[in-house]
Every structure is written in C-alpha cells, then in structure tokens.
C-alpha cells in the first residue's frame, strides 16, 4: 500500500506512532509501550475506484465495469482501510488485576479506494 508522503495526494496510509507515555497512560497500560495509530487519507479518482491497495483483482473488476458503463460514475470512491491487524495489550483494570487481551482490527495495515 502507499505510505503517505507530504506531497502524496492519492489514497495512502498515514503512519502515526502513539507512545502511551505521551498519553500519560503508562501507569495502567503495561505492554506494549505504544502502538501504530495509522489512518487512511488521500483522493480516490474514478480510475482508482476499487483499488484496495493490495490485491488488484477487485480493482480490475470495478475498472471494467466503469469502462462498460458511464465513464464518470455519480458516486464517489473513498480512501478506506482494507487490511487491519490485532493489538495485544497487557493492562491493569480498576481492581488492580492484570488483564491480557488481543484487540482485533486495531492497527490499519493497508488503505485502498472503496
């Protein structure tokens, strides 16, 4: 997937590392020390509609439909997450118990056009 650079106008993944110390939460989140809060941003012009940023087959299906029908569809295509990964957290709950949990779909790995 495209990782956003300052001059990238097209749909890409913007990487942000959040340190729990910066949130002031290192006293209750024991592990890890931070996580990637990535998000998607950028434009999705018609010719990129359906390009999920990883596998192009869906993109080619949409593209051939675009060609077969009107070249300028009314709807807009948006830059959205197309692949996510879980985050394993170890934290203290309000009773002082240690809880280990895997939070599904927490980290955006890839972005693409809907």
């Amino acid at each position: 997937t495209l990782t956003c650079e300052p001059e990238t106008p097209l749909c890409c993944r913007r990487d942000y590392y959040v340190d729990f110390q910066e949130l002031g939460w290192q006293d209750w989140i024991l592990q890890p020390e931070g996580y990637q809060l990535n998000y998607c941003s950028g434009q999705c012009p018609p010719h990129l509609a359906g390009s999920p940023g990883i596998a192009a087959s869906f993109h080619s299906a949409v593209f051939s439909l675009l060609k077969a029908n009107n070249p300028w569809p009314l709807g807009t295509s948006c830059c959205v997450p197309t692949a996510r990964s879980p985050l394993s957290l170890l934290y203290l709950d309000r009773n002082g118990n240690v809880v280990k949990t895997d939070v599904p779909d927490m980290v955006v790995e890839a972005c693409g056009c809907s």
Partner: protein, 218 residues
C-alpha cells in the same frame, strides 16, 4: 501549515502539526477505551508490587495461550488479618462482573515455603454470601504437595462463576501429613500469603458470546 496546503482527502486547510498531533492522541485515547469497553481510563488505587507482577507474568508466559478473542486475567490475593496461621488464610480477590461471569479456566498459584517438612494436604473452599445469617461454604478442590516452591492448583471454573458479588473469597485449609498419612504438628508458616510471593489467580475469560445473556436469563 495554514491555508497554503490543502487536505488531500477533504480539500479543507490542513492542521498545524501540533494541532494534528493533539487530535491524533485524542483519537488514540477514544479508540483504546472503546475497544477495551471502558468509559474512562481505570484509576489504579492499589497496583500490585512490581516484583510480584514480574514473577507472575514470567510464570504465565510459559506456554499459556489466551482464548481466541478472550482475555487472561491475573488477580493478586489480599488476606484478612484475622487469619492466625497461613494454613487457615482467607484469600480475597476482586474481580469485575464480566470476569466472574465468563470464566472458563482457573488456577490458583501458591508458593510453598522451603521449610516444608513433609506432605502438605490442602483443601480450598469458596466462601459464598451469607444466607439466613449463615455463611455458605463450598469445597472447590483438594491437593497434596510434597515439594516447596510455586504450585498451580486447578480450580473448577463452575465453582467460581456467577455470584453478583465482585469479591471472591477462597479459604485455605492445610495440614501436614507423615508418610503413613497421619497428621503431624505443623510449623506456623507453610505458605507465602503476602509480599512478592503472594498467591494469585490465573483466569481465562471467554469472550461475550452472542446470546450468553439469553442463556443465563433462561
């Protein structure tokens, strides 16, 4: 960067880096609290001692696998001062309601002192809420230990589930056995019930399956 540069997604002016950073950190807080089903960050009043925490985590890292989408919980015991000897200690654990309702695996970790002179016969009772001025007590498990050090004692999760109370009370009853099974006078301390080697519960919590509530109501 002010009005000069344009947001590639919405066409509006982009945020100054500090403002963008503050916004992202706020979003991170919301995302974490929402995914952990918390309304606000927990206020930790009595965190477990670091040494006890490190030791417990090291034990659990050996081969433990959290249930898919479930949780693993370590709950450290506090003891009532009234216990005369550690062999009749009352161990008190504070659990959240969800933890006690969706429990599917439980082990009590106890540290037996090196001064163990024989076989330690241990019974573990669960103390329930008072009914008609009487305390209800249920035998959960019996174990025999012949070596000092840490022991992980499996408890029936069915015996721990359920009460609305978030306080779980386990009473230990232990006595020393000679080779032929006769009881011998026991030294005052056989188990560690405080400090860094204090007992802890290792729990595995199932995720909230859809319909669990219906089953319970039925």
């Amino acid at each position: 960067q002010g009005a000069r540069s344009v947001c590639p997604s919405c066409g509006g002016p982009t945020l100054a880096p500090q403002a963008e950073r503050a916004l992202v950190l706020e979003l991170a807080k919301q995302q974490i609290l929402e995914r952990l089903h918390l309304t606000s960050r927990p206020r930790i009043t009595n965190p477990p001692p670091q040494a006890a925490l490190t030791r417990a985590l090291r034990r659990l890292q050996q081969g433990s696998v959290a249930p898919a989408n479930g949780e693993e919980v370590i709950s450290f015991a506090t003891t009532t001062d009234s216990s005369t000897s550690t062999c009749s200690s009352m161990l008190i654990f504070q659990l959240s309601t969800a933890q006690s309702h969706h429990l599917h695996h439980a082990r009590l970790w106890l540290h037996v002192l090196p001064t163990l002179p024989g076989t330690l016969y241990l019974r573990i009772f669960r103390w329930g809420p008072r009914r008609r001025h009487r305390v209800s007590r249920a035998l959960l498990a019996e174990h025999q230990m012949t070596t000092p050090g840490w022991h992980a004692l499996t408890l029936p999760s069915s015996g721990l589930r359920g009460e609305e109370s978030r306080v779980l009370k386990l009473q230990l009853h232990c006595r020393l056995l000679e080779g032929n099974g006769t009881t011998i006078p026991q030294p005052r301390r056989l188990l560690d019930t405080a400090g860094d080697q204090r007992p802890f519960l290792e729990l595995k919590i199932q995720p909230n399956e859809p319909g669990t509530g219906r089953a319970r109501r039925r």
